[in-house]
């Protein structure tokens, strides 16, 4: 116990001033806004209202980026702690989206819904209550799901060769996807958009849905809680210590298995939250949702520097911008292509990511 308390100043990242990260974030948003305005003004069809369209698109990009960032946190924490790409993580997010439909909506496939909501809820306190209740129900379930996956499928491989757990992770992803297919059916399933899309605010002459701000707020709040947890609490310190050196942490009295389980639970809960807000934003859920979202979120985690929590959040927003940029130019079909090109380019030129440090290659 006393030994664990001695490892207080665990820090892998070089020191930055406290305002650096918010400054980078704001800088990114402004930069994306300027680029988008410029590009839109080149097109005669959009040039008249270029700044307004750009503001709307930035808001869209921030919502989708927030979702990717929430999922990316699970990838980055798990990779940081046991160096495993948890391929099933994207599917945990998909399950979260389905659980939200089951809890609040009319159900999916042969499974009936619980609250049978089907459309916008205009009453503000009731709406807040519903959203909070959905998050409070879905997050523990997906957390538990991810924890179970770790306990059943990954823990037996602790310390074994790296190929075996990776292949197992792919298999688990496939199992989750096909369980969803069998239980909930194929194709788009309706998700209740309980947040009224008609609520809009005026931002510098552009009409932006309030939902975009709500999603951003929920995501940032969860990230703040996570950051505080990892930085300030005893368990958070155990997580950082385990990520740094598993064997040394074990010798210092950290219960490594419990810490890893906790990491999976937190990652799963965040993915569940992402699934809930996904439903509000897009109004549909599908069993293969997790595959693409997972791939993009992993790209976000790599972009930000794998193992780095702040980096994953920034990476999520950058991926949101890249995807949105392609869509804003009317090239929606090429959005995924551009995201994966970004991944490949990052891996070639800056494999450690935006905020990551150059770490030695492990054989």
């Amino acid at each position: 116990m006393t030994a664990a308390a001695a490892t207080t100043t665990v820090s892998t990242v070089r020191h930055r001033p406290a305002w650096a990260i918010p400054a980078i974030a704001v800088g990114l948003v402004v930069a994306y806004f300027l680029v988008l305005t410029f590009v839109l003004s080149l097109n005669p069809q959009t040039s008249a209202a270029a700044p307004q369209i750009a503001i709307q698109q930035v808001a869209n990009a921030l919502s989708i980026g927030a979702i990717y960032a929430l999922i990316a946190l699970g990838y980055t924490m798990v990779y940081g702690i046991i160096e495993l790409i948890n391929f099933a993580h994207g599917d945990v997010f998909m399950m979260g989206a389905f659980f939200a439909v089951l809890f609040a909506g009319v159900g999916a496939g042969s499974v009936p819904g619980l609250l049978h909501l089907n459309g916008p809820v205009e009453n503000v306190p009731l709406l807040v209550l519903y959203i909070a209740a959905t998050l409070a129900v879905v997050m523990p379930i997906t957390g538990l799901l991810n924890l179970t996956i770790e306990r059943v499928f990954y823990r037996p491989f602790r310390g074994a060769s790296r190929l075996a757990p990776l292949i197992t992770a792919v298999g688990v992803s496939f199992i989750l996807q096909n369980v969803a297919l069998v239980v909930f059916g194929s194709g788009d399933r309706n998700s209740p958009q309980i947040f009224p899309l008609s609520w809009r605010v005026d931002v510098f002459g552009a009409s932006v849905p309030v939902l975009n701000f709500v999603i951003l707020f929920i995501a940032l709040a969860l990230m703040f809680v996570l950051q505080t947890f990892v930085r300030r609490t005893r368990l958070g310190r155990a997580m950082r210590a385990t990520a740094l050196d598993q064997q040394a942490s074990k010798l210092m009295g950290v219960d490594v298995n419990q810490t890893i389980a906790l990491t999976f639970a937190i990652g799963g809960a965040l993915a569940g939250a992402a699934g809930v807000v996904w439903g509000y934003n897009f109004g549909f859920v599908r069993q293969d949702l997790g595959f693409n979202a997972g791939l993009k979120s992993f790209t976000s985690a790599v972009l930000g520097g794998i193992g780095n929590i702040t980096g994953a959040v920034l990476g999520g927003f950058v991926i949101g911008f890249i995807e949105n940029f392609a869509a804003s130019l009317g090239l929606t079909r090429w959005a995924e292509f551009s995201v994966f090109m970004a991944l490949t380019l990052v891996l070639i030129f800056r494999p450690a990511g935006i905020l990551g440090q150059q770490v030695g290659e492990r054989a």
Binding site: V172, F174, G253, Q258, N292, L295, V302, R333, L343, E361
Partner: protein, 398 residues
């Protein structure tokens, strides 16, 4: 350590000497022959196996299920998967690199054939030229994809290949002008070898061609396994750092695995396109990569024979057994069984099979000796390490 299993195998082989001396003599002779002439063993084995399967398909129990020609057509499709599995086995089984976008190379072979021999481009190049061309194009893309990423940690490769496997069909889908998008390129030429035009309904010619290609690839793969580069792959797979310290150029060796693995996928792509006579993006989705991975894991990673058998069996389970199961249960009057669509469950079953195999028998059903040792010794080693370091670390609470 590494010498013990082969010695043990020999010992046990001698212990269970057969009762009849003449049979024993033949067995030793055959074993001596197979060890001395492995390539000829493969040729003879494939020849016997393919002839037996060909005729047996017309008799029970095969004939109860479906007609001979349907069986032969299925065997040809299974051959496509055998080729894919043998190629992926080079990357995953030999070199230990996880490639999750393997279907992309399959797509390159198929589209090259569609471009080279279809009314869409008005080109009708010779089949054999395109067979080689498809393999070369796939290999070039294998190098192009591998070069930037192979310097990185192994699991980054998995995700990059996954992304690559995802965008290649998207590109073929979106580039409508050149690929006709979702419709695909239809009316692709059937093979024409030295003036012999393959018939459309009778699949015998495809069967013979497929047997020949699979035989050649099997021989090459076995020879690769024992070559200088095969040993280099094994060294990298077991310990990359030690391999590099011993003078193996890890980047070029991994690239070679990637390129050679892609080559086989190119063959498979050309053969598949020429058989189906249509190429469209849905043929190359992630499911294909996943199924091929399941085939090599089930068959026995690193052992070409096991992998080929795994591919053949799994393909037939997927495309014959599950469908027949549906037909059988539909006729039975058991309400629950009637409602189950077994084909719908196929990927779920594959996922479960893959995970169970990795957990309980990671070396596969027909394992390679060396791979089995690696997969089991790694666990023992690391546990021993931890025990030595901290005998009671696990019990200390936080």
């Amino acid at each position: 350590m590494s010498a013990t299993p082969s010695v043990e195998a020999e010992k046990t082989g001698k212990v269970e000497a057969p009762n009849s001396p003449r049979l024993g003599e033949w067995r030793t002779r055959i074993r001596a022959f197979t060890q001395a002439h492995r390539s000829w063993t493969i040729v003879i084995g494939m020849a016997i196996g393919s002839v037996v399967l060909f005729f047996w398909a017309a008799f029970p129990p095969f004939s109860f299920v479906q007609g001979q020609n349907t069986w032969i057509s299925g065997f040809v499709n299974a051959g496509v998967f055998i080729l894919l599995a043998l190629g992926l086995n080079i990357v995953v089984g030999f070199a230990g690199l996880l490639d999750l976008g393997y279907a992309a190379f399959f797509a390159f072979g198929a589209y090259l054939y569609a471009f080279g021999a279809s009314p869409f481009t008005h080109l009708h190049l010779p089949f054999l030229l395109l067979l080689v061309g498809g393999a070369v194009v796939a290999a070039v893309f294998g190098i192009a994809l591998g070069a930037p990423t192979l310097r990185l940690r192994g699991d980054y490769l998995a995700i990059v290949t996954l992304g690559f496997g995802e965008i290649v069909p998207i590109v073929f889908l979106n580039a409508e002008k050149y690929t006709q998008g979702t419709n695909g390129i239809g009316g692709v030429d059937r093979p024409n070898i030295f003036g012999y035009e393959f018939p459309g309904i009778d699949q015998t010619a495809y069967y013979v061609l497929m047997t020949i290609v699979v035989t050649i690839v099997l021989i090459l793969v076995y020879r690769l396994l024992d070559s200088r580069i095969g040993r280099a792959w094994a060294a990298i797979r077991e310990d990359e750092l030690a391999a590099a310290a011993n003078g193996i150029n890890t980047v070029t060796t991994k690239l070679a695995a990637f390129a050679l693995g892609a080559t086989t996928a190119g063959f498979a792509g050309v053969l598949n396109a020429s058989k189906l006579t249509i190429v469209d993006p849905t043929q190359f989705q992630f499911q294909v990569s996943f199924v091929v991975l399941a085939m090599i894991v089930l068959g026995g990673m690193g052992n070409p024979f096991g992998v080929a058998v795994g591919a053949f069996v799994l393909y037939n389970i997927q495309n014959v057994l599950l469908k027949q199961l549906n037909a059988v249960t539909d006729n039975l009057n058991i309400p629950i069984l009637q409602d189950i669509d077994f084909v719908k469950f196929q990927f779920l079953l594959f996922g479960i099979a893959l995970v169970l195999m990795m957990m309980f028998r990671p070396e596969g059903l027909i394992p390679s000796q060396r791979r089995r040792q690696e997969l089991h010794s790694a666990e023992a080693d690391s546990e021993a390490d931890l025990e030595a370091l901290a005998p009671d670390a696990g019990e200390v609470a936080l």
